[in-house]
Amino acid sequence: MSAESANAIQRSQVDLMDLIDWSGVECLNQSTSHSVANALKQGYRDDDGLNLESDADEQLLIYIPFLQVIKLHSIIIKGPEEDGPKTVKLFSNKEHMGFSNVNDYPASDTVVLSPDDLKGKPVVLKYVKFQNVRSLTIFIEDNQSDSEVTKVQKIGLVGTTVETTNMKGLKKIEDGH
C-alpha cells in the first residue's frame, strides 16, 4: 500500500507551493508572532523553529487560493508530537469560511493525523474529491495533546495542475494559403 502511494506521489510530483496565490492566503486564529507564512512559505516551513501557532484556542482555519485550478493528491503536515494537529478537515472551493460554519458543510476530506504522520509523511487524500480545486480551506480542529495551542511546522501540498490553456501560447492562424 505504501509502495502504491509512493508511486502515486511520483506521478503527480509537483509541490503546489508555487501555485499558491499569496495575496489571498488567510488564517483565522493565528497568533501574530507565529503566522501561517511560517508553515507555508519556502524556507520558513523547513525551519523547525518557525511554527504556525493558534491564538485564542486550539483551532485554526487556513484559506489558500491557487493561481490556477489544480488536482490535490496528498498533504504533508509536520508538527511537534504533542501540540501538532490531530483532526484536519479539508474543504475545496469554499471561500471565506468562518469557525461558525465549518460544521455546516461536509468536508471534502477528513484526516486524523497520527504522531507518525506529523513527522512529515504525505497523507493521501480522496483524489476524486479534489479534481478541480481553486481554493483550499484547511480546518485544524484539535491537536494531539488537547492543549490550548496548536503548533504546525510545515504544511505541504502535493498534486498536479489541470491542463489549462496557456494564453501566451495561442498563436494567430496565418491566413496566407
Binding site: 501574530t32 491564538d55 484556542d57 471561500e95 468562518g98 469557525f99 461558525s100
Partner: protein, 404 residues
C-alpha cells in the same frame, strides 16, 4: 484607508435620558455616530457601516452594513429610548451581521457605545472577546454615561480578551465638551489613517463653532446673511470683552499712572486715524500687537519703574475713546474684525510704521494732527516699541507724560 465593515452598537436604554452630556446622552451619542459614519465612509469609499440598537424590546439591527451614508443617518431618526442595554447580545448580533457582509475582503470592526451599567459577568464578556479575536473582529468600546469601577473593569477585561492591536477603549467623562469632540482625538477616529483624520479635523473645526457642525448653528449656504450677521456680532462681542478684560487687568497700574490716561486716549485716536489713512490692515496689526505686547510692556514698565505702560493703557482706554466718538467706535470694530481674520501682514506693517519718517510724513498730511504734538510723539515711540520690544524709546514717553 483600511477596507473595513463596521457595526455600531447604540445604547438606547432609559439611562440615555440623562442630561449630563449635552443635550442628552442619547443626542450626544447620535452625534458621535454620525461623525463616525462620516469618517469611515470618507476614509475609504468602499467601507460599509451598519447600526444596531442594544436596548428597547431587544437587539435590533437598524441597517445592515452599507456605504450609503444617507441611509445610515436616516435610520437614526425616530429612535426611541427605553429598556435595558444587553451588551453581550448586541456584540454577538453585530458579529453575525458582519459575518454576512457582502464584501468578504473587508476587515470586521464593532464599535460599542456602552452608556448604561453592564450587568453581564466578566467571564461572559471575556468569552465573547475571545470569540471576536478568533474571528479577527476588532472592537472599539466607548465608555460614557454611567460611571462605576465595576463597569470599567468589565469593559477593560472585554478589550483585553479581544486583544487586537486594532481595538481600543475610550472613557468619556461627563463635562462641557461634547462626546463627539472628545472622540475625534481618539484612535477611534485617528486610527482611520489620512482620510479619516482629515475629515475629523474638519469636523472638529466645525463642531468647535456650533452644534450640528456648522458655525453658529446656521448653515452659511442656506442663510449667508444670518451667518454673517452672527459672526460679526460674535466678533464685536469678543472685542468688547477683550477691551473690558484689558481694562480690568490694567486697573492696578492705572492707579499709579492715572495722569497718562488722557494722553493715552488721544494716542488711541491717533492710532485709529493714522491707520485709517494708510490701511485698515495696519490698524488691526497695531491693535493686535498692542494686545499681545500689552502685558509684556506692563511687566517691563513695572520692573523699570518707568511710565512706559502708557501704551498698555492705550489699549484699554480705547474703550473710553470709543465712548467719545461713534465713528471711532465703528472703525475700532471693523479693525478688530479684520485683526481677528488676518495677522500675516502684522510684521510688515509694524516695520513700515517703525519707519519714523514715513509715519510722520503721513501724519503731517492728516488734518488736525500736529507732528510735534506730544501724543503723536508717543504714538511714534510706540511704533518703534512694537518692532523693538526692548523699549529703547522710553525716553520719548517721558516728556509727554511729564507735561500731563
Amino acid at each position: 484607508m483600511v477596507l473595513e465593515a463596521t457595526m455600531i452598537c447604540i445604547d438606547n436604554s432609559e439611562w440615555m435620558r440623562n442630561g449630563d452630556y449635552a443635550p442628552t446622552r442619547f443626542q450626544a451619542q447620535a452625534d458621535a455616530v454620525n461623525l463616525i459614519c462620516g469618517a469611515k465612509t470618507q476614509s475609504n469609499p468602499e467601507n460599509t457601516v451598519g447600526v444596531l440598537t442594544m436596548a428597547g424590546k431587544g437587539v435590533r439591527v437598524l441597517v445592515t452594513p452599507t456605504s450609503d451614508l444617507g441611509k445610515i443617518l436616516a435610520c437614526m431618526h425616530g429612535l426611541e429610548i427605553g429598556g435595558e442595554m444587553n451588551l453581550a447580545a448586541g456584540i454577538q448580533v453585530a458579529q453575525l451581521a458582519l459575518k454576512h457582509r457582502q464584501n468578504k475582503n473587508q476587515q470586521q470592526r464593532i464599535i460599542v457605545f456602552a452608556g448604561s451599567a453592564v450587568n453581564h459577568e466578566k467571564k461572559t464578556l471575556e468569552m465573547i472577546g475571545r470569540k471576536l479575536k478568533k474571528n479577527s473582529v476588532a472592537l472599539d468600546i466607548i465608555n460614557f454615561g454611567e460611571e462605576d469601577e465595576e463597569k470599567k473593569e468589565k469593559l477593560e477585561a472585554l478589550l483585553a480578551a479581544v486583544n487586537n492591536n486594532n481595538s481600543n477603549i475610550v472613557h468619556v467623562q461627563a463635562g462641557p465638551s461634547a462626546l463627539s469632540d472628545v472622540l475625534i482625538s481618539t484612535p477611534i477616529f485617528t486610527g482611520d489613517g489620512e482620510g479619516g483624520s482629515g475629515f475629523a479635523a474638519a469636523a472638529a473645526a466645525a463642531a468647535a463653532g456650533g452644534v450640528s457642525g456648522f458655525d453658529f448653528g446656521v448653515d452659511p449656504n442656506l442663510d449667508p446673511e444670518l451667518a454673517l450677521a452672527l459672526r460679526v456680532s460674535m466678533e464685536e462681542e469678543r472685542a468688547r470683552q477683550e477691551a473690558a478684560a484689558k481694562k480690568a487687568a490694567e486697573d492696578s497700574s492705572k492707579q499709579e499712572k492715572g495722569g497718562e490716561e488722557p494722553s493715552s486716549s488721544q494716542d488711541a485716536t491717533m492710532t485709529e486715524r493714522a491707520s485709517a489713512v494708510t490701511s485698515e490692515a495696519e490698524n488691526k496689526s497695531i491693535d493686535f500687537m498692542d494686545d499681545d505686547n500689552a502685558l509684556l510692556q506692563q511687566a517691563l514698565a513695572m520692573s523699570m519703574d518707568e511710565p512706559a505702560s502708557s501704551h498698555d493703557l492705550r489699549d484699554t482706554d480705547m474703550s473710553e475713546a470709543v465712548a467719545d466718538d461713534p465713528e471711532l467706535a465703528l472703525a475700532l470694530q471693523m479693525s478688530v474684525q479684520e485683526g481677528e481674520k488676518d495677522s500675516a501682514s502684522d510684521k510688515d506693517m509694524s516695520k513700515l510704521l517703525a519707519d519714523q519718517s514715513f509715519v510722520s510724513s503721513i501724519l503731517a498730511s492728516l488734518p488736525g494732527v500736529d507732528p510735534n504734538d506730544p501724543s503723536v510723539r508717543d504714538l511714534l515711540a510706540s511704533m518703534q516699541n512694537q518692532s523693538e520690544p526692548e523699549q529703547k524709546k522710553n525716553e520719548e514717553n517721558k516728556p509727554p507724560n511729564d507735561e500731563k
